[in-house]
Subunit: 341 residues, 2 copies
Amino acid sequence: MADRNASDPRPVRTITDLAKLAGVSPGTVSRALAGKSLVNTKTREKIEALAREHGFRPNQMASRLRRQKTGVIGVIIPLGHEQKQQVSDTFFMTLLGHLADALTEKGYDLMLRRVVPASDEDWLDPFIGSGMIDGVIVVGQSDQFDHLEEVADGYRPMVVWGQHREGQRHCVVGSDNRLGGKLAAERLVAGGAKTLAFVGDTNAPEFAARFAGAKQVADAYGARLDELPAHVATSGMTTEIAALMRRAAGSYDGLFAATDLLALACLGELRKLGRAVPEGMRIVGFDDLPIAQQTTPALTTIRQDIAGGARAMVELLLRRIAGENTESIVMPPKLVVRGTA
Amino acid sequence: MADRNASDPRPVRTITDLAKLAGVSPGTVSRALAGKSLVNTKTREKIEALAREHGFRPNQMASRLRRQKTGVIGVIIPLGHEQKQQVSDTFFMTLLGHLADALTEKGYDLMLRRVVPASDEDWLDPFIGSGMIDGVIVVGQSDQFDHLEEVADGYRPMVVWGQHREGQRHCVVGSDNRLGGKLAAERLVAGGAKTLAFVGDTNAPEFAARFAGAKQVADAYGARLDELPAHVATSGMTTEIAALMRRAAGSYDGLFAATDLLALACLGELRKLGRAVPEGMRIVGFDDLPIAQQTTPALTTIRQDIAGGARAMVELLLRRIAGENTESIVMPPKLVVRGTA
DNA sequence: GTGCAATTTGCAAACGTTTGCAAGTTTGCT
DNA sequence: AGCAAACTTGCAAACGTTTGCAAATTGCAC
């Protein structure tokens, strides 16, 4: 408590202050605090003690400027043109949580930015060129596939979460959405469903792939698969789904929802309409968010390994920062059978 | 496209490079790019054009060091001692989303850090003292109330989300949890419930206040209110709640869950046990997360204004950074009546 | 043309670290 | 003792900006 109180006449702010106090040069203090082996154990201990006593921390801004390395990874979330689309999208937020953990573990800090590409052509470059971050993770491709390709040509340390396309140039990590779609459709068909509907907006590449996979299976089994465009915006989603379900309840016996959240909404609406699940309507979701276990009946869904994906993105990014060239990673999703299909 | 391609032999990296190109001094370039009025319109335009052409952005690290201002706000999420407690806690994540929006709007960047105070005594100071952030927002008090008080004495630009206690020294924004608890209990009692249980861990100050409020009402109406300690960890929560509900189903006719997520779990388990809601058991949650609308029956709950809270925190923090002294803000929650009570 | 104010610019000193190099010190060995 | 090798330390130059001050330029009125 000695010198730490607010009335301290001369707080120790810089490494030079501390050096004077310890009777050594700033350079030595720097080395001591950095834990380098070049400094005598006794002086190091003295300096460390002094630093602790005065609550001194070297200024990161200066350090990072000098070392030309920020120790910060930018995480940028492009929001679709539907303004507040994913304000609280559980999936992205969960991914973000895991990213934070993975980055912390590797000693990096995380700088978060949410942007609306539609309203700002130049959404990625200012972040990249700011000199504030060593690399960037883009969470979701939104409708910016081409722009990402372009940026990737000139900026190496970038990893994107999203859908992989043959021959693309930006490094991406994501699930095999097509496979996921197949698994979902297979499960529905296996349960006896013959007329299926895909609930979701196929403008997003991920969703389009899920639909394509399901379509392939449906065709193979001679089942029908229609597209029911629904938006993932949290507010208003309920009423949209309600209308959709009223129309759909009679026409289909199997639902493949692009997202657990959508599946959840469908489930709720169907129940209100008195339609039995899974007997009258089988449902498969996508993501396997924690809530999927909580519904009744619990949601049958396609599991994405979010934590694993986050770890993979971080690892890839660090390798890229180190100068390596990395391939994209496509992770296989898994069918999780519960009560709705 | 002229000089921007990768093969550019001498990229324009520093303000000095650009200065040479423009035939002026670095100082002038700096002033021009900063939009100061001290520079001739013609030279400014020339410099701006050049900057655009070469895709030049001044290095933020250097700028911030020099100006002693980072333009970054730290957001730190203390995780309870139950390690992965809120890995994907929807409430905190939603709050985070709104914080990101509010900060962006004010021209600040957001630096995210998640810490486990239990395993690291010194979780807040390194962030504060790093010189990387102009201020910090702490999302949730966890069990660190005293530590926050201590830090607040020496560090002004800090705002905390959490529970307000009479005479506390750190600036806090949060809901009137006690009032929320009262509203919940009142609703339960009004529906005819006589033996109530609070589901949640009262070690967290927020939850304790919710319990206290409910207790007060229960006492006033001569109803019973027991405490059912349950943890909010996402994994394992389901089984814990399952056990709890098996024991509770017979003994109570009203449940006040500390969180919508808990309420959801209870609802699911009770349904499995064949207990009718709300007829056999009335339930009130807390938060009013989007999912609360999706359950069947939809969840009656206590609504917190998350977006408003986020905006308030940011505004308060900026005022504090500017040197003002600010009072805490306690926001009144609202009862949202739906199907479970 | 001269004088004086108003504009524009350049100069150079910060901001607080890190680090290559060289000087200084200790240690170990003959 | 003497000398080389190993270990510690100090010095000073970066990192890329911003900004107070002074110098240079311009404009304007006399």
